[in-house]
Amino acid sequence: METRPYFIAGDLSCSLLVGGVTAVAAIATVSQAWPMPAAMLVGMLLGMAVAAVGILAFGRCFGMIELQMPAMLTGMLSGMIVSMIVTRSPMASSTGAAIGGALGLATFAAVWIADVWLRAKGERWTP
């Protein structure tokens, strides 16, 4: 599992930023007039676009393959969830950013736990 503070800080910062920025972008794009499924789809696509920028920006220092999992999942989740809420009631950007950041933290933690589990699951074939 990844325990080096440098990489944990990089992966986590990227996910927090992607979550927050996606939420703010979704609030600026979607409104109560939107049908919920369309809003969620657009939110998810926004999240993927924001994550792609985040992965490019952080990738050089932290490695793209490992950044992309938590960051992409965070972007998609944050975009979908915040857009879904916004079709029901308006949301302040600061609230959205906090929700997006929290989703970034939760996604990072979930991927880290999956990594611990899957790393332990290497396979051996006996001759």
Binding site: R60, G63, I65, L73, A114, L118, R119, G122, W125, P127
Partner: protein
Amino acid sequence: MDALTRRKWDRAAGAFDFINGLGAERRWEPVKREFFSTMHGRVLFVAVGTGLDIRYFPPAVQIDGIDISDKMLERARPRAEAYAGPMTLRHLDVHDLDYPAGTFDQVFTSCTFCSVPDPVRALEAVRRVLKPAGELRMFEHTGSRYFPFNALLNLMNPIARLTGPEINRDTVGNVRRAGFRLVEVRHAYLDVVKTIHAVAPA
């Protein structure tokens, strides 16, 4: 030689070290050091790229490095010259390996089989140039068997393949399909980054 693949990697060569030479190398240094420490005898290194991995090679191994991109090889040349052992570089497509059958004790790859156009045919070519019971050792990123990672990699693959590698390949399955016997697969990140140890038929 596959002109399309060659052009794609020639284009990628200029920015390759800038993008991959810092974070990714730092991240994988411990895994790669251990991985390459098993090199011995005569080794074929498939897709040497700009030679970022050469620093991990143990000294005094006889290594033949190949790559489809001469722009990549240009950048790898000074690193190969600095290697403490006999190392040659050749501009060669892995599908067209022209070494006599049974030339190599080991074949190493590193982030290669996400990139070659026909992985099973290329692995069959690799098997031919290995000695009987010769070792195939790969450090690769592949697709995942687990949700949501598999869905995400499948979704992003069409974009990734435009500029570089495919990110959802079943490389472990391809190794089997090419006639190798798997010995061990170790996961280095999720089940996406892994080392694969396989042997050619005896």
